[in-house]
Point group: C2
Chain length 228, copies 2
């Protein structure tokens, strides 16, 4: 009995997800959870396989090695981080660019919470597993962001805070919403940050940054001094 008359061969026409793609996806998800929980060294490929409900050899069949699996997991996040930084220079108004940057970073944490935590841990330990080429791109990007902030300060669009420390603070504050699940569990009963939490996070961080970096009232009129 063909369910509802139409779309007879639809199932074959839409290869949806080949077994190959489906398995790769399940392994990546499992790897994200496992690496986020334990870190690279402590994570076991057997546990990743169990989480994905596949035999361990499939992990190697699809990803060749534990390290390669780890990198495939991180590449999306690294790209997203680079894009979030580039946002800083998309508009010459810090009152627009800073919130956009903050929201973009929080968006990464919401979209790939596990992979982003893995990235945070990787950075914390000095990025021992990232390919040099990725490091160079991250390096160059942070350099450009610093130049941008310094230029805004020069032109009086930002208060003269230390650009390095401002950027580090933003990066740290947003990155923290990756820890959020368990830090919050330490306090309340919630186990996963929901949409409201991200809104509250964006609001708090943006408020701290915007009000903390607004030029002095006597130097320019309150908060919309932007003379362009």
């Amino acid at each position: 009995m063909p369910q509802t008359a139409t779309a007879p061969t639809r199932r074959r026409q839409r290869p949806a997800l080949s077994i190959r793609d489906r398995n790769r996806q399940r392994i990546l998800i499992a790897a994200g959870e496992e690496f986020a929980d334990k870190g690279f060294a402590a994570a076991k490929t057997q546990d990743i396989a169990s989480r994905a409900d596949l035999p361990k050899s499939n992990v190697y069949y699809y990803f060749q090695s534990k390290e390669n699996l780890y990198l495939r997991l991180l590449e999306n996040v690294v790209d997203a981080v680079l894009e979030a930084s580039a946002l800083l220079r998309e508009c010459d108004d810090p009152a627009w660019a800073l919130p956009a940057h903050i929201r973009a970073r929080l968006h990464i944490a919401r979209q790939w919470p596990h992979a982003y935590k893995v990235f945070a841990s990787e950075m914390l330990h000095g990025a021992p597993h990232l390919p040099p080429e990725w490091l160079q791109r991250l390096h160059a990007e942070s350099h450009r962001s610093l130049d941008c902030l310094a230029a805004w300060i020069d032109r009086g669009l930002l208060a003269p805070v230390d650009p390095q420390h401002l950027l580090l603070s933003i990066s740290a504050a947003t990155r923290t919403y990756v820890d959020f699940d368990w830090q919050i569990a330490m306090i309340t009963g919630k186990s996963q940050p929901d949409g409201d939490d991200f809104e509250a996070a964006a609001a708090t961080i943006t408020r701290l940054v915007l009000r903390g970096t607004a030029p002095e009232p006597e130097a320019a009129s309150r908060l919309r001094p932007l003379p362009l």
Copy 2:
């Protein structure tokens, strides 16, 4: 030939550091560096021993197990973090207490950079190695801090930001100065944050927090509204 006449038995009278204490200390320092670099799982007791210039068995002789060594390394930091949080309630003026708290946290990062990085990593992964009793103390402490912030907001001493997110942002921003050495190396040539960096960090974070949490001008007079 007795070197210089005086102080004949001085060397015996001052046990200074017994071999035991000296070796324990050297192992702890080496462990801090190694755990900070690699994380708990990836750190090898052999490498710790090599760094301390001692045979591996001494590590086990003095500390019984890798995990115990790890905990002995962390206990100072955990205590210091608890004390820094308690500072928040030491004075009823947020304009004094918040900077004091921020400086105390940065002070920890400067005093024990390696152990603090280890602590940060431990928190990031959900504190899988900390004894439940330590976790309870950390839990209780953050709860008290939140109550304190909420009370200030109620009384109009702070702008109505989300206390949880404020605390997380402060914690994250200060904790970052642990990453500082290598994040900064990614940008400049410096390899260790010096005194000036910590001053700049304190200044930037304090500015962001104080100006971001100051009550609205129309709700109370600028920054010294404290109606007590």
